[in-house]
Symmetry: C2
Subunit: 414 residues, 2 copies
């Protein structure tokens, strides 16, 4: 006897049955609509990338590639990686067409990304992410627009200002303060890494003293007038983002390509108190590919954290359902199946979503099933109707009926 | 000096810059709309699948997995494959929820698929595919509906009946004829494989005689009255698919899970004379997962062949372009950037797609750029406007201008 195959998906990945797919599509469509409202254009690329794209920034990255990504050698001896993030890809694409592109470039994508780690809540091996980037603008208005876009992505789902908090910081400003405090470059870098872990550890002060060689005091709640961080915050307030904006010294973001403004959006709900999304300004991501640096600012937002946020704040209620066909054509028995398909084709040609119940259920069961799935209309096809070519269209909600030829019934619906 | 990274994508894959992405989205959206017009529901799954899903059908498949797919061992010693086709995945998913699903199940998906082969025209290492399947109906009406859906997918792009030909066949009927001709099961299987290659080889008769041990004569242009193939063709004609339907004995399709009706759609253009899509009926795909067999019928259509078809028949002309923002707000210089963003936010809140030109171009260049990309309206922001809060909205096509406050201008557009 043959061994039965498992119906489980591969570890750390998800199957999207139609109910989940409908939610996924609602999320993706809302993301796309919001990005396009800001004039962003969509791009995409393959999930396969040469591994060197992720390794190139030094030994630290080599270890990341080896330990945390799906990387393998292909038969042409190329090392290939399933993309763990989209930023290197978009930098590669911008660098590749730098001469043909009109800056500022505003691009977004909704890629799937792969991580090789222990699956846990919100951290699967495969997830999708909204990625938005603006290239070619140094001015603070780019930072303001990107954070405004991130803010509007959440608002587009019906979130209230009190549902989330925008934590903002500036790495260059922080580095300046580290310098004033007497830290060298290496100590400053260690302090950035430590700050990134601040909320996860209990002995921050102790660890900071180890790095600095003296007690570390950081009081950054108010950025100085004239600093970039001050201007970005002021800009955000001017365009109306006030209530949930907070300068946060411990917001530094994990990626080491950020050079200035960084931000992170947190869910304020006590039951889902976590980072939803984040991003920052990078001044030379395309430099690896040669040519003059092109500055940019971008952010990413994952589908799993997005859905958790929407469910935490009851923002999916009543918004997503599988769209049932508008009309179900119900043959009384199998001998009417082709006639039913012929009728269905006429409605489809008039752009009416139409399905035929080709099951061998009794007609009563077919009617109650159509009602259950939320179809608006039904049309029963039996031998009499096939001969007379007069059919009855029934509106399920009102139980009202219309009699006529197929063209008359189509006209009654359009 | 550091080595510069290449900006090329990984071999056999494509980058989708916004122009190509717009075409890709137009194709995917037309596919989705047509499938939904027939009452199909969308599903998806991960590109990562346990390798055993593809190996399970015997040694032939083991070789296919080893030779033609991206397969590797993960750190948990699981063998994992980047899916080369969607049918095994959908069979797994249907089998996994067989008790909860309401049959007939009509599902579609637009997955990306991976093949490890030498890249050539239309055969990349990564491509996307429309996959449609109906599960749970044995009746010929399911075969008719699936072929009608395939037909309508091409019609939805504006294709004419003369642009393509539907070749239809029935493997079980062919096997019956092989039996009548005196061939055993093994010889029949070899003949199926040979027929699949008929159009690509010149010595078909010779090879057929080798298998059969005698000259092989196949005359199948007219299926017998009462056969399944006859009924499927008759059903297709009844629902209006007549002109481009052709019974074709050499249409057998590569996949060995097909058991009965098979079909293939060919481009009739002499410059692109090739198979566009194909599918067939499988009577026991879910059997590998245990439980009673669930019959089904499905087909697949690739994005590369789809685009080649559309370009061959000039069906993309004027249909796809990158949608420019409706309004471009143009600050006279950088000191007006935040004011410009503030104004843009007001238009975006009224659902008007609005971008701000944050470049350091001169205002004249900003205006001509907005015109070039096809923006409908522009609004210039200078120091005077910022003080008076009276702005001018210019319609680029007519050169007409409207003056007013931002709320008045928004009202004029909505």
């Amino acid at each position: 006897m043959e061994k039965k195959l498992s119906t489980e998906s591969y570890k750390g990945t998800r199957d999207f049955y139609p109910e989940d797919m409908a939610i996924q599509r609602y999320i993706f469509e809302t993301w796309a609509k919001t990005a396009e409202l800001f004039g962003f254009e969509r791009y995409d690329a393959s999930i396969l990338e040469p591994s060197e794209l992720y390794k190139s920034k030094g030994a630290e990255n080599e270890e990341m590639v080896r330990e945390q990504t799906y990387t393998f050698i292909d038969r042409g001896d190329r090392e290939v990686t399933l993309r763990p993030e989209m930023t290197p890809t978009v930098a590669r694409m911008v660098a590749g067409k730098r001469r043909d592109l009109n800056f500022p470039v505003r691009w977004y994508s909704i890629p799937n990304l792969f991580r090789y780690e222990r699956p846990q809540r919100g951290r699967l091996r495969e997830h999708w992410q909204l990625n938005c980037d603006m290239f070619g603008v140094d001015d603070i208005s780019a930072d303001v627009e990107m954070i405004a876009l991130a803010y509007n992505v959440l608002k587009a789902f019906g979130a209230k200002d009190s549902d989330f908090e925008i934590r903002i910081n500036d790495r260059s400003w922080l580095n300046g303060i580290f310098g004033d405090f007497g830290l060298n470059q290496d100590q400053s870098k260690q302090m950035l890494t430590l700050l990134d872990r601040k909320e996860k550890i209990t002995n921050f002060d102790e660890e900071a003293e180890k790095i600095c060689g003296k007690p570390f005091i950081l009081d950054l709640e108010e950025p100085e007038n004239g600093s970039r961080l001050y201007d970005v915050c002021k800009g955000l307030q001017e365009i109306g983002i006030i209530k949930n904006l907070k300068v946060s010294a411990s917001t530094v973001r994990g990626f080491n390509y950020y050079t200035s403004t960084v931000f992170e959006i947190f869910d304020t709900s006590p039951t889902n108190n976590r980072s939803l999304m984040g991003g920052g300004r990078y001044d030379n991501l395309t430099g690896l590919f040669g040519g003059d640096p092109i500055s940019g600012m971008g952010f990413g937002l994952g589908d799993v954290t997005m859905r958790d946020f929407l469910e935490t704040h009851n923002l999916l209620d009543g918004k997503v359902s599988i769209t049932a066909p508008t009309l179900m054509v119900l043959p009384i028995d199998a001998s009417q199946n082709i006639e039913a398909e012929k009728i269905a084709m006429a409605f489809r040609n008039a752009h009416i979503r139409t399905a035929v119940d080709l099951s061998d259920k009794k007609i009563g069961k077919k009617i109650s099933h159509a009602d259950e799935v939320g179809t608006s209309y039904i049309l029963v096809v039996g031998a009499d109707e096939t001969v007379s070519q007069i059919f009855t269209l029934k509106t399920l909600a009102t139980k009202s009926e219309t009699k006529g030829t197929i063209s008359e019934l189509i006209a009654s619906l359009t």
